[in-house]
Assembly symmetry: C2
């Protein structure tokens, strides 16, 4: 039976990075992938989504300047845009596997199942290792509806060869928003259907509402407080049925959440604890079995399930596997909804802010009239700061075409505790979003 120092299960950003780093430590490492080498992020997540978003951004940069330099905005050719996406994604699985193999990390393809806490089975083979890292990520949940077989998911959307005329998304989290923004910009009649009136929970409600208004003006149809009960196939498409609501679309995307990929792992055989949110770990990312670690989206955790967080955890695990580390300590974690106008936040969670609202006060700055935003006609650009009782910034939300750039600068400034006086002594390429930073801090 092949024996390794460490077996990594899952080759997404977390597992992949960990495998390389463990190998660099001189360990004998194997990695198992049940699906596409590279995992969700580069194959059917962040990266392909943002390839498509390139088209949206380009179109909308022009559209914002309609009447200000351009007569009309260009139309997106879906087939070409999808081919552009594939020019990136097509090579990901092979290049990921070849990279691992070149680094002398043994690769196994197939579903991994624990036989016992020391042994794992994959593709009719049994392997053993001193330590394990479970980094199998998540996949879309399927709403338990009548007609649920008619639902498609984000993976299907990101592979659509043709864009249907009418697309509906059930759910209003960031995945639904981002894919709806793409569909709408590419010319589909686009609907977002949500069971309550609080889309993008986890983001500031005031700025979420403004983003919704912006997207409504751009053509997206929002339907709130709709409890979808049934999907029925009709001659003219798929009918979404709820009490007092009915909508027929050519494509219905279920975007109501993601679940940890643990069903096939046979965790009980290894005595690894888990719940429906994922694998339970201690503050050293050890499961209930001290030699089995887990990280990334498969964890039952409250920190956002994002690629860079998974990467951060992977780096931590690589050290933790050698012992002698203190509990994991997360840095600031920005979260973002991409699009034309982007919504980004960082800091204390909205849940905490709402629960202890008496401790916090806010300031919202309208950026639309600032040169940087006026220049790109970024109407509606805003930034909201939340301060604690000592007037310390504890959270920031930004709605702008430049929100990602701005939030990333602010992550550095907050982490390094750079003061206003210090920031005033920086000289940045001008004019630019960076040149405005001293007005915020």
């Amino acid at each position: 039976m092949p024996k390794y120092d460490v077996i990594v299960i899952g080759s997404g950003p977390a597992g992949n990075a960990a495998a390389y780093a463990l190998k660099e430590q001189g360990k004998n490492v194997a990695i198992i992938e049940a699906d596409l080498w590279g995992g969700t992020c580069p194959n059917r997540g962040c990266d392909p989504k943002k390839m498509l978003m390139s088209g949206v951004e380009a179109k909308m940069r022009v559209e914002r300047l309609t009447g200000k330099g351009f007569e009309t905005s260009p139309e997106i050719n879906w087939e070409e845009l999808m081919a552009f996406k594939k020019s990136y994604t097509d090579s990901v699985p092979d290049s990921t596997q070849h990279g691992l193999a070149s680094a002398k990390i043994t690769t196994y393809h197939g579903t991994a199942s624990f036989v016992d806490s020391k042994t794992i089975a994959v593709a009719d083979q049994k392997l053993t290792a001193e330590q394990y890292l479970i980094a199998t990520g998540q996949s879309p949940t399927v709403l338990p509806l009548e007609g649920k077989e008619h639902l498609r998911n984000s993976t299907d959307f990101l592979a659509l060869e043709q864009l249907p005329k009418k697309v509906a998304f059930i759910g209003a989290g960031y995945i639904a928003f981002e894919l709806a923004i793409i569909a709408n910009a590419a010319g589909a009649q686009t609907h977002i259907i949500h069971h309550n009136d609080q889309p993008l929970k986890g983001f500031d409600r005031e700025l979420v509402n403004q983003l919704v208004e912006h997207l409504e003006a751009a053509g997206i149809n929002f339907h709130f407080n709709i409890d979808t009960q049934k999907i029925a196939k009709q001659a003219e498409g798929y009918q979404i049925i709820a009490n007092d609501f009915e909508l027929t679309a050519d494509l219905v995307i279920g975007a109501t959440g993601r679940k940890p990929n643990i069903d096939h792992l046979a965790l009980e055989k290894a005595n690894v604890d888990y719940d429906k949110k994922g694998i339970k770990v201690n503050e050293r990312l050890q499961t209930s079995q001290a030699h089995i670690f887990a990280c990334g989206d498969v964890l039952a955790k409250n920190t956002p399930k994002l690629t860079p967080v998974a990467g951060y955890e992977a780096s931590y695990v690589v050290e933790a596997m050698n012992g002698q580390v203190s509990a994991i300590d997360y840095p600031l974690i920005p979260t973002i909804v991409f699009g034309d106008q982007r919504l980004a936040r960082v800091g204390v969670s909205e849940k905490e802010l709402a629960e202890h609202s008496e401790k916090y006060h806010t300031q919202t700055i309208d950026l639309a009239g600032w040169y940087t935003y006026q220049r790109i006609n970024d109407q509606g650009a805003k930034i909201k700061f939340v301060y604690d009782e000592a007037d310390k910034i504890v959270a920031i939300t930004c709605l702008s075409q430049l929100a990602d750039e701005l939030i990333n600068y602010l992550v550095i400034l907050l982490t390094k505790q750079i003061t206003h006086a210090e920031l005033e002594k920086f000289i940045f390429a001008y004019p630019s979003p960076a040149s405005d930073l001293s007005y915020f801090i």
Copy 2:
């Protein structure tokens, strides 16, 4: 005769900022402007240029994706784009003057001339002050050619109501480049004529050459080693004549440099030293008269003449006027050529790098294949690091659609001496240019 604590001459970014800050110190302040309130940068410099550049960026974002999501790129409507620019610039002079007046800073409009070192004349009035700040900036030079009266300058270009069919720029500094990029993207046949084969001196030669290639592919015609001798008005336009070279254009822009605005100041009456490069100051920005300070582009200095540098100097002068400051110490100063693909640099000057090339070694990283750049089809994206003998980064040049964003991040990282290990513990909004930073440091 009205008497002030401080009289500021020039209301550009430097003079304006200094006037407000001095007023906040409780001083009695007057400010004199001979031309447009607000000065060059917001009226006929960085800001209007980048309003027009918005159109270029938007068009080129689409053009880069031609065949990758778009059939064609949209055409720029010059009149509309110019109206968009004016929507920003039109209100600058009035709002600048009203802002100053509201802050109870006395404003005088007219040409200022020293009567003696304590007295200044403006619009038939004499004023006196304890201290002076000269911040009159620069204006375009005029080449001493036969037919020089046919040359127009950057100010004229930025106010063009219609875009001529064929535009030629004489000179190949960043102003010529940026305006040529705008003219070319907006549909004019565009030429850059330069007396040697080293455009954009001050930037890394290798990456300048690549930018030139990129712009040639985009349609700009470069003519190097052409010593223009004469401009002749012909029926079909303005003929640029040199040995073995002749070109006729509808508009010829002289962009061969800028000269300090000191001619009308009667500096000799105040015994203020100057040369053709500008006003001479010591390390406390005092002129040869200790009570007369100067800052910004009007200085004879080696630091780049840029708005944020002028602002930095203005802040310094405000303290220096109260005495007890140490010599001015400049932070890192990034410089940039805006455009579709932007060229940005920071660090030790190219002159120093060339003179002591034995002390330095370089590494150029091709970014085009990196996800961040592949996503926007940023072909030719590159970053070049220069290291000293201790492998410390001493200069960085970046050629990319994202060069401004990247160089501004790097300014922060270098200034705060953030290490690779530290940077790996940051989590950024992903994917984004910031998420790549740990690969550079």
